[in-house]
Amino acid sequence: MRQKRSEIYSVELSGTEDIVRTDQGDDKEKYRGLKNNCLERKKKNHEEEFQKELQLDDHKLSNTELEKKYGTNIITGLSSTRAAELLARDGPNSLTPPKQTPEIVKFLKQMVGGFSILLWVGAFLCWIAYGIQYSSDKSASLNNVYLGSVLVLVVILTGVFAYYQEAKSTNIMSSFNKMIPQQALVIRDSEKKTIPAEQLVVGDIVEVKGGDQIPADIRVLSSQGCRVDNSSLTGESEPQPRSSEFTHENPLETKNICFYSTTCLEGTVTGMVINTGDRTIIGHIASLASGVGNEKTPIAIEIEHFVHIVAGVAVSIGILFFIIAVSLKYRVLDSVIFLIGIIVANVPEGLLGTVTVTLSLTAKRMAKKNCLVKNLEAVETLGSTSIICSDKTGTLTQNRMTVAHLWFDNQIFVADTSEDHSNQVFDQSSSTWASLSKIITLCNRAEFKPGQENVPIMKKAVIGDASETALLKFSEVILGDVMEIRKRNRKVVEIPFNSTNKFQLSIHETDDPHDKRFLLVMKGAPERILQKCSTIMINGEEHPLDKSTAKTFHTAYMELGGLGERVLGFCHLYLPADEFPETYSFDIDTMNFPTSNLCFVGLLSMIDPPRSTVPDAVTKCRSAGIKVIMVTGDHPITAKAIAKSVGIISANSETVEDIAHRLNIPVEQVNQRDAKAAVVTGMELKDMSSEQLDEILANYQEIVFARTSPQQKLIIVEGCQRQDAVVAVTGDGVNDSPALKKADIGIAMGIAGSDAAKNAADMVLLDDNFASIVTGVEEGRLIFDNLKKTIAYTLTKNIAELCPFLIYIIAGLPLPIGTITILFIDLGTDIIPSIALAYEKAESDIMNRKPRHKKKDRLVNKQLAVYSYLHIGLMQALGAFLVYFTVYAQEGFLPHTLINLRVEWENDNVNDLEDHYGQEWTRYQREYLEWTGYTAFFVGILVQQIADLIIRKTRRNSIFQQGLFRNKVIWVGIASQIIIGLILSYGLGSVTALSFTMLRAQYWFVAVPHAILIWVYDEVRKLFIRLYPGSWWDKNMYY
């Protein structure tokens, strides 16, 4: 959102006026976006304040009036005591940081979010149940108290974990927020002092020099060649002069006010502080931005949806079976315990933690690829993005002027504009080029900063403006040591560029020792240069400049200008030695040398070229179904040219204007539908209703918004969101921050971005490169797919955990699996495997898919739930029951003897319960067997979860297509599962409270046939999905 313009370059027709008009235009327009953004309560208040602020009249006051108003003295400054008083009154001169949610609130949110509330209810029910038991029987067992405490422990642990993860990811960002404390040079008590900028108060007299940040809003009292960069405020990085004159009614436009947080580029300025802290212009914008609420991320919505589904299932099954249990004449207290068991079995306690870990793993991966994610959930948002509103400068382009084309010998040559310039292939044999290169080299004031011998040319720092830098680097690459050439051709005199002349001129001695002539070189606006020429050099020879050559010149000029490039003309003249002997003294004031009838040598055009990775990235976005919209403050022609060169406007699509031009008919007659692309300027946008904007956004595939003010960006973002799109917005200026916040995912530039932009954004691109967004999209989509797999994996075993309770209630079997054991699966064996799924590679090219529709493509859809619960889950339950029955049968309780055994089995006073063989069991012996049953059931689930883990690697492809061993982490997961299982059974088998026992080794293999069945069944499912896409099977079985 910045632009590099210089007044001389006439291609930029009326750019400045446009801007001025936009900015001048009523201020309501400027902040229209903010007004529209449905923040009714804050809006009015701010609007009024802002209006008031703009009525600031300090710029109109004279110095004495100012002194009076602020009770200060321009020479002596404030007194320290007065300053301290003011500081106490107004507070420190710093922006109030955006309101942070207090840590404790964040923590408590984690404690009650998601499933926690269910578990809390479970825990309290446990305690209440114990209380009731205790009141009737003092010796009631403490089991329920333990269970309740364990549930609370689980909630707290998962909460602490999620909080920790969250905190960790915010910490990455906090490094950004740490700014080096700024110092300010202030005059107080007639003394110059350096104090922290925070302590400035209104009325302070400050001095700022080139390179410093303006420490507050200041009214300029005196300045020396001061130019400021207002980009952090306006988005335009063009240096603007500052002096003490009052030049404009509008305080934002007048030259005698410098704004807080902008940068003084060169010169020095002395000014009086007129506003500090939040009362500065930037403070107002920042507070407006903080008013734009952060919307819920798509993944947060998905997770909420999923929690609702699972909690709904848990609660309704729980209540259903509570009613069944009561009507089966169970005691209400027992029924409550069943209810708790059902809830615990149904809630995937570890899942939300897993999701957090998965997201943070992806966030780390993205950080490596230069996408720093501030908000974990934003990781996925990028994947569901359907529209990217991208900046041009710096994001799509390299953010530096580069020579793109040359015109000499009646021919246009293309220069290499790639990042390193290495491949300059145009014909350099012509002697015209020799002359042109000499002019380029000599008529240039830019210089490399010293001490950069080992830095590649393109990366060297340069003193000089953007065009001169481009020319310097261009000639350095082609010709070698420019400084040496300049030394050999000693500069005698020069006229630097100024806006009235619109040219730059210098006179040099030549490096040819036999040639005593002086060489006059000149560059400038092409038509201006042409006026001064009478001859033109073609193939090294001077030809008179006639009409036809002038025409070819114009054709070339228009062509280059049409590419959106900044064109410069070059000419030279060898001054005759007799008229200008070596001793001749040139005087630039009297211009005692010719400046006309020169020899025209060539044209050279420059552009801020696209980054070489961008066209590819844009193509990828397009094939990924993501619409890339360019929003720039630059001129429409340049914007369109860049859009074309990076593919935002594809090669064969035309705008309405293009069609009109081609068919030679007025724009109004063109059928709007024929045009695929549109270039909309800020002026047009201003007059548009939101319906018209919607129409444009919906009808055109390729859109470029040019000449937009940063505020209009917000309108565009809102328009996109009305299309139900998930919008990503890139931005760097302070003024972008409302749009960044408004966007589903705001992307700030890490290098060029202001702190306010970074604060408002969800993500920071460390390399400012558009291509990094595409990798982000890829990661985001992958994580969405993988989260689906993780959830499917996790949900499956819930049925296997739930069925035991249902069977227990209905058929009266001894309880197959205990609540604590379930927790060991959910929070023990299953954790690492479900995280391992996050490392799964994409099944197919995820960048060839359309972005997901946020209302239709849910994270957890019906198919996923049905397939996990009713297919695999049920199989798993059967397999686990097989292990359970095996253990009981081999100990003497055959399956049929177990039915309706529950009451006797659990009766502490029945110590001679007969088994199938006539043996009699004491209660403890049965209890131990029951624990063995728990362990067996646990192992059964564990073994089948391994199969479940493997099948979840893919949703469509065969496991063998995906590769069984490509994702090594899966195997780590499986190993962890087995090891934890072994430890629980054999290591902690003797700890009664955990109710694990040492299971016979062979029971580990009982469920294997069912595990294999799961695998085979899923392979069959995937096979049919692949064979019959779109079929009934595909619709019902693909999740």
Binding site: C38, E295, K296, P298, I301, Q721, V726, V727, D744, K854, L870, H871, L874, M875, L878, F881, L882, F885, T886, A889, Q890, E891, G892, L894, P895, N909, N911, D912, E914, D915, H916, Y917, G918, Q919, E920, W921, T922, R923, Y924, Q925, Y928, L929, T992, R1000, V1006, P1009, H1010, L1013, W1032, N1036
Partner: protein, 290 residues
């Protein structure tokens, strides 16, 4: 992203539900057409049929590993438990001497329990074995089935046999009989070839005082080795479990007495911390007299 929370009126919600249940336009019932429902039901019929078959098959295979006569593993039953008769809700024998109803149910239970021990039945079904040694009936390669059991005659219980007993096992006089039995465990050689007996005592000192005197039948509470080993319900069809009867002669009335009986046998530990019934049994005795 602005989520337009469309506020739906109650009527709309009902309407939507109605349409979900039956959509007359598309002829969809609960979001599916008839054919779709048929398809899905057929699918689940086949699928669950298959699962049932698969589960049954694996269960059948599993049951093949289990013998019908002896359990595969007995690791949990190393120490047989002890139990009392009459079997009461909370292992307590409470007798209100004057209130016939309070002990009549015990008596009924005992009558029923002791019926198979009647001498006539024993003589008819079981062998007279040599006391003092295990009555082993090895298979020797051929299934030796059914196995014979040794007689335990009701008369061996003496005063507690309840035969022609007007006091109803002493319950009507406040001198109740409690029968101790040891849990059956297949192939368990109780006592490890040495004689064993059951002893009873008050759990704590005051219990011992309150307990008073008691007599045991058979004498000393002996359990003979000939009743072991047990070969299981299928093989040992008429197996008669040996009993020890304890007749409490002068329990302090109106006091709850905690009695603990344990078996003294070489290979039965009676000090298991966790299993309170391993080789022992504790019960409460209370005689209420007015």
């Amino acid at each position: 992203m602005v989520i337009q929370k469309e506020k739906k009126s109650c009527g709309q919600v009902v309407e939507e539900w109605k349409e979900f249940v039956w959509n007359p336009r598309t002829h969809q019932f609960m979001g599916r057409t008839g054919t779709s429902w048929a398809f899905i039901l057929l699918f689940y019929l086949i699928f669950y049929g298959f699962l049932t078959a698969m589960f049954s098959l694996t269960m059948w295979v599993m049951l093949q590993t289990v013998s019908d006569h002896t359990p595969k593993y007995q690791d949990r039953l190393a120490t047989p438990g002890l139990m009392i008769r009459p079997k009461t809700e909370n292992l307590d024998v409470i007798v209100n001497v004057s209130d016939t109803e309070s002990w009549d149910q015990h008596v009924q239970k005992l009558n029923k329990f002791l019926e198979p021990y009647n001498d006539s039945i024993q003589a008819q079904k079981n062998d007279v074995c040599r006391p003092g040694r295990y009555y082993e009936q090895p298979d020797n390669g051929v299934l030796n089935y059914p196995k014979r059991a040794c007689q335990f005659n009701r008369t061996q219980l003496g005063d507690c046999s309840g035969i022609g007993d007007p006091t109803h096992y002493g319950y009507s006089t406040g001198q109740p009989c409690v029968f101790i039995k040891m849990n059956r465990v297949i192939n368990f050689y109780a006592g490890a070839n040495q004689s064993m007996n059951v002893t009873c005592a008050g759990k704590r000192d005051e219990d011992a005082e309150n307990l008073g005197h008691f007599v045991m039948f058979p004498a000393n509470g002996n359990i003979d080795l000939m009743y072991f080993p047990y070969y299981g319900k299928k093989f040992h069809v008429n197996y008669t479990q040996p009993l020890v009867a304890v007749k409490f002669l002068n329990v302090t009335p109106n006091v709850e007495v905690n009695v603990e009986c344990r078996i003294n046998a070489a290979n039965i530990a009676t000090d298991d911390e966790r299993d309170k019934f391993a080789g022992r049994v504790a019960f409460k005795l209370r005689i209420n007299k007015t």
